[in-house]
Symmetry: D2
Subunit: 508 residues, 4 copies
């Protein structure tokens, strides 16, 4: 068990300024900006990614009545009204979406099957606050199958799939969420999850930290019964760390964001595919022969570079870290400063987690039709604000695609206004979401069942053995056959046959 | 500064049995097997790799006189006789080899230049025990240029390049080493390095731990003046850990084996190239269309798989660790058990660090002409001993290539008798050795200059900042230009502009 | 100059049965099936590909009035009414689309600039019948700039972009085309292009052969003044060959379909990207670790395999031709019969040009969730008809995506109902269209300016020198710098410094 | 059947000057330069490649007696003395080499088995002149098994493996060849093959055209009985073409050099592997991060670029042909003029077939330690002669490796003195030789069995069906399973189920 060392709020960087600033905002809890801009920090499915759920979306009657769900009286077929969704009648459509997702989340289904007998979450009362999608629904129903009672709210005011929320409500899950909540709705929904007579949560599953904060603020006594918090997002993990450092964290918390399996899929493997997808869907460009500069050669940059190289692009890399820089060299990429190539490249991609990596000066020097986009951790990498000046004309040519036009006619193609391309212009494959959801489920089981004293009031990484277990649950998807150590081999290597197989510092 | 956590003796595995056995052998210090077999544990240039120094080797008169160097009286041109080499007259040839190596080790030369003014090793008295090659000579002369006095012995009885040793002696370095030492010579040489009147070492640079052990055994008092040990090999590092655990380590030690840069080059990058090289030089085979199974998907396995895939082979992978297994899947390799493909593959490559990965049963089932070789950490991966049975005929067809012939005429092609292909049948590029040597030099500087108390009597990893510095010194080779953080960016990220840039657990 | 040898109607195959059948249909000119099914033979932008022109499409008022354009009275701003388009008022939107396309078709713009002075098409009266898109508009206006007069109709009843047609009409081009023509409209538009008082075409640019046939049928005398036909499609080229063989071709014709440059871009380079794009847009699947079988290893298959391998898929190939099969082996793909892997694969892709490559029997044996799609030359590769049986349920889950569900619940995912994935579910990059358009323009210039007697009444391939010229016009896009032969080198190689550089049989 | 169109003597270029010059030399048949320099034109195993036959070479007693084989009296075990080899006693060693080669030439062995019953070469009297290696021996014995009588000489004065020649002589083949023949020996050996009482050849298998010329010159009447010539080399094929053009070719000849299968393996597939092998064996360099310029993007250049890119090199390409240039762009390589990158690259590789591609001016501008080598068709690509000037020092550092040192100390590393790296510094895999040998055998069968009149007195390419057959014979090596067309499919495609499957102009 590796204790979270607190030295980093992201997987790659020490405590950054924006996080500190962000933490400061917590002081002004009631004044902070709208959910939307704040949410953009979270590396999860954002509002915009729901664009891809076109099939689902199509079921939603667009001329839906405008009554707020809070003002409606709805009951599910069993007569319960302990939920608040857009339209309970959409349940059937949502159920179909959930069924399709189940087929693509075999690991969670396997977990459901394996652990169902012993009900490892019997007695667990989980309050959750996540995006509400078909994939989350599979997670929630898995938790139910393992014995848990759940109450759920959305962690984002736009990302809820109304049909799925309806399907969950129909199945008896108290869900409080709809697409297009107001700020006030948002907190109201969270409150309805926790502030309920005769039921008190003993586990928290959070994505972004809002739920945790609400309880801290409004119902601090609840923590007496809470066995632990599982948090998925960079932001939420950072908040927990702040609490821990301040000595205010009063229950164990599990940081599932930094587990090996989740990290590799969220970054390297996912981005390797989504950079191509995002660029194609927005611009229909051809990759072959294009000159591209990728800023940053972390996992995300590595994925982008590998994909574009394979498609016949000529890729340049910028880096600040000499080790990553040397890796770029050995992988066959010219390591340059952005200035050296900015005039010649056809595409600029940021993957740094840093701010103002692409400045107005760079933008001024780009050639006509240059495409600029961001695959990194925040929307600060490209100094988009610097483009909002009178001499430049903005032209929206497609959804998520702006032409910014200079007085001399030069135009650059800005994607998603500098927000994350992955979330705005491509989709996150269900398989990646499956990795995350399985990790969350295992973290809940671990915390709930841990003998007293194993976890203190601190932030922990997922035990390596569980990380390995998440991976192993996904191998059957690929018809992959793991080799087992013989007793003799295990002894020789000094390993337990069931793992963990690597020391904590192993780099994979 | 990350303390070595002691949980692993190799980069990938927990304390293995062979290490424990090996440590046990230390008890019987004088009875242990010949150097050669023991040495094969060390992941450095082994005897066999010297095959590649053909140009150098050609200068050596093969009909050299057979007098033991210990019985000769030799003086260098300045009149010194404080050395013992094969033939001081070969100095000129050796000097040329060193000069060529200097051209390919720009990082060390840059370090020499940068640090020469301040002489960070002024006062250092370094006793070293490593392979004696042109590359080590560049290291030794760099240490000298930085202010150190050095005395040196060979860590392997076969690997010394006599001309290079002569050149060093000619330049005034007390070197005690030649190719083909006896066991007795070996310890005599080490003793001559440390047991010298009016000179006592204050730093140790070791590769394999023999020098360290000699001092422990014979001159334990010397440690009072010794500021630290720098150790490169897996084996030596393990020994240090044993000492530390037993409370017997009486000076700080630096484990340079597990630094990021060194690991990546020793394993991933080096093996990506040397698997092709080793197979071609021994068998002249064509890679295209061949079916290959690679056992183990760690850094070495990843390198082998990537190279063979790129050359048009069809590659299968076996793994015991589900995380690495999932990586293999995502990289496009079928994950199988060895039994599933053993009848159909053309090549079997082991990269596990484990033992008996390829058993006699597997060997019996291989098809005619199947090639079997080992890229892993030891020579135990293929059960070669099981092939030494009367019904099988061995036929040596080339250097390092045996045909093992079954009664029915089936033959398998065994390379290097199951020892490391990298060392036996290909060469280690000077660039890789440059990474190692630079790491060693920096570790010496760090330990020598550290304020008292920074390092306890324990085993340490190279500070990340120094790891990054090694990388940065090698970037100019690739004409690679690093980007510097602006003040604003550094503040935003919470980083020092000069690094370190990543938290310790970062996986690269 | 290579004469078209007539032995093949496609780039890969001898005269196939469906072509012969198709030719037979010509006898029953008035009875043949609707345009749509026939059109699917043509490897051009089909109706379905227009889905991607979402930006353009958005300008079209969807509640557009339903009056047939034939019944409207429209005038452009100069007072001309010699055109028939949906709505002349959309001209401005179309003009913007054309301007964007111009930026991505630098070769055509360069040609416009280079040849504008000498007006190589002065006096040319070109009648054209192609898809009417922004890219065609750039071609048309280039022809105009080179001195030609043009009249134009659409070669497909669905593919016309109304705004573009409007913009062309506004600029003075007599265009007769709109989206959603009836069969009768289709021929009426063609007739309006050729049957005009005081103007007779002397060049034909055709895509599919309908225009050519109309003139053959209705105005055979026109051929007296016609200098040549340029034909782009597989189908149209085959028709010309049939005419030639029957001794009825009365003017020279240029087959631009089989030029090297066009072929490579239409097949290898385009498909390498569009297979990924098509699969992602329809299914959001992850490629890593997926098992895929690609049927056919011609240019299209090679592109698909390379892309999927690069994305981490495990790819199997089926082939009938041993040479292509050996190429697949050398490129690292297992060559199998479809039956061997049909139970295990996640995706089946056909690229053969053959029929019933995937049969009902195969479909019955596929595993649950298997994706089936077609990248080949026709919609016959997958026996989709066999799936239209009562025991199977079809469920449309998205545009172009059907789930076909077996009685036991197994579902396969059929894309585009077995039609071309490239055209239905991804877009053709403008760069590829630029290659085609430039080839067409050069072929027109060649035929129009050829000295009498150079071309007989036969079908010709584009002269290699012109093929090379098309390529050279596209190099500046990549900032690519060609090397010129010295006089001495040209003499040594026996080549003209300006090309052609290769013999006709060179394989590239 | 495609007639050789005579427009090119190599696969890529029109009749080059050096060929014309070379043809001119034929006029001075008796005065022309030594075999060695002339031989270097031939793309076959040259003298230098025999370096790799180290295992075989070791059997040869290096202190072999110096008596000329012509002066020895030798008999094989059956009492025959109709041969002339170095030492008949080496037969056993040679037999083992042949047996090993047989295992790696399954296609030829399959052909032997399939055709043995019907003896398609019964009555054939073949006189051959090729390199004499284990692989040729397998070919020769296959021809024998198919019914032919053979007499054989070497086509190169250095390339004969004496043991193999001995083994063939022992088996009863009249072989006249040894390593180290004089010019006079060379012609004497050829003469002994053809000028024999009671035996007259009816088929010729030639590699380089010397045998053919000898018969033309000395025994022109023999052609009356000769059914055809099979020629493998670029040079020999060009000679045949010259004869044909001059109306002097009096029998049909088969150009097997330009068959698809042979070309792809000789160039693309072979060079993809041998560029890495050749560079590693000579320089032990690391490929990762190196900047490389490859001159020429034909099949050889494509192979080199793909391999180096895969190993992490940064590759630039130069081209004269815009089509190949565009391919380079689409494959992800920057297209440059040599001058643009000559100062920065670490390696320069020529693959053009042209002369003086790398000039002294380029060499002057290269950076220190730059490696220069040639993978092209001749040794003229690098202007090596320009380096033989007094101010430059040459230093031989290894076999095939020279340092050329400028007055300022800069040194470039020249490999194989600018001759073909493939032949000088790496080996040709047996599999590639198997393709060639099988092609030759099939060409002999075709010519020998063709009905009269099918082949005129002209030069022909191998019929595509036979080309496909060669490929199909090699598929079992890869356990590759070809798909067969159904009757219905064959009809649909207009193809014979047994091929040929493609039109002659198909590009693969």
């Amino acid at each position: 068990m590796e204790k979270w060392d607190g030295s980093a709020g992201t997987s790659a960087f020490h405590m950054p300024e924006w996080m500190i600033q962000f933490a400061d905002q917590k002081q002004e809890f009631n004044k902070r900006p709208t959910k939307i801009s704040r949410r953009s920090l979270s590396r999860s499915i954002s509002q915009s990614s729901t664009d891809s759920y076109s099939s689902a979306a199509s079921y939603t009657d667009s001329s839906d009545d405008e009554t707020s769900p809070r003002d409606k009286q709805q009951k599910n077929s069993k007569g319960s009204s302990d939920f608040c969704v857009k339209n309970i009648k959409q349940a059937e459509f949502g159920r179909r979406e959930i069924e399709i997702a189940e087929q693509e989340m075999p690991a969670l289904m396997a977990l459901r099957k394996r652990a169902q007998g012993e009900k490892p979450l019997a007695g667990a009362k989980i309050v959750g606050c996540t995006h509400i999608t078909a994939q989350t629904a599979v997670l929630m129903e898995t938790l139910g199958a393992l014995g848990a009672q759940c109450r759920w709210a959305a962690c984002n005011i736009y990302s809820t799939l109304n049909e799925v929320a309806a399907a969950l409500a129909e199945s008896g899950f108290p869900v409080f969420a709809w697409k297009g909540e107001s700020e006030d709705d948002f907190w109201w929904c969270i409150d309805r999850c926790v502030n309920v007579e005769g039921w008190q949560p003993n586990m928290i599953l959070d994505d972004g930290g809002d739920l945790t904060h609400w309880i801290y603020k409004k119902y601090p006594n609840m923590f007496k019964k809470i066995k632990g918090i599982v948090e998925e997002s960079v932001t939420g993990v950072h908040r927990l760390y702040q609490l821990s450092k301040a000595g205010k964290l009063c229950v164990p918390a599990m940081n599932v964001n930094d587990s090996v399996t989740k990290q590799k899929f969220d970054n390297l493997y996912c981005c390797r595919e989504s950079i191509l997808d995002g660029l194609k869907r927005t611009t229909d460009m051809m990759f072959g022969g294009k000159q591209v500069v990728v800023c940053g050669y972390g996992e995300v940059g590595k994925g982008c570079c590998a994909a574009l190289k394979a498609m016949g692009s000529i890729v340049y890399v910028t880096e600040i870290d000499p080790i990553c820089a040397l890796q770029a060299c050995m992988d066959g990429f010219r390591l340059v400063k952005l200035n050296e190539v900015i005039r010649q490249v056809d595409i600029v991609i940021t993957c740094t987690g840093n701010k103002n990596v692409v400045t107005r000066e760079h933008l001024d020097r780009m050639k006509n039709s240059c495409i600029v986009c961001n695959m990194g951790h925040s929307n600060t990498e490209i100094d988009v604000a610097s483009l909002r000046t009178p001499e430049l004309t903005w032209e929206r040519v497609r959804s998520q695609v702006d032409h910014v036009i200079w007085p001399d006619g030069k135009r650059i193609v800005l994607l998603a206004e500098g927000r994350l391309l992955t979330l705005s212009c491509s989709t996150v494959p269900t398989f990646v979401l499956s990795i995350t959801a399985t990790t969350q489920a295992l973290a809940l089981i671990e915390l709930y069942n841990a003998p007293e004293g194993r976890y203190k009031q601190d932030v922990y990484l997922l035990p390596k053995k569980m990380d390995e277990y998440v991976a192993s649950l996904h191998l059957p998807t690929f018809d992959a056959h793991l080799t087992e150590l013989t007793d003799e081999q295990a002894k020789y290597l000094g390993l337990n046959k069931n793992g963990p197989f690597k020391p904590n510092y192993y780099r994979y």
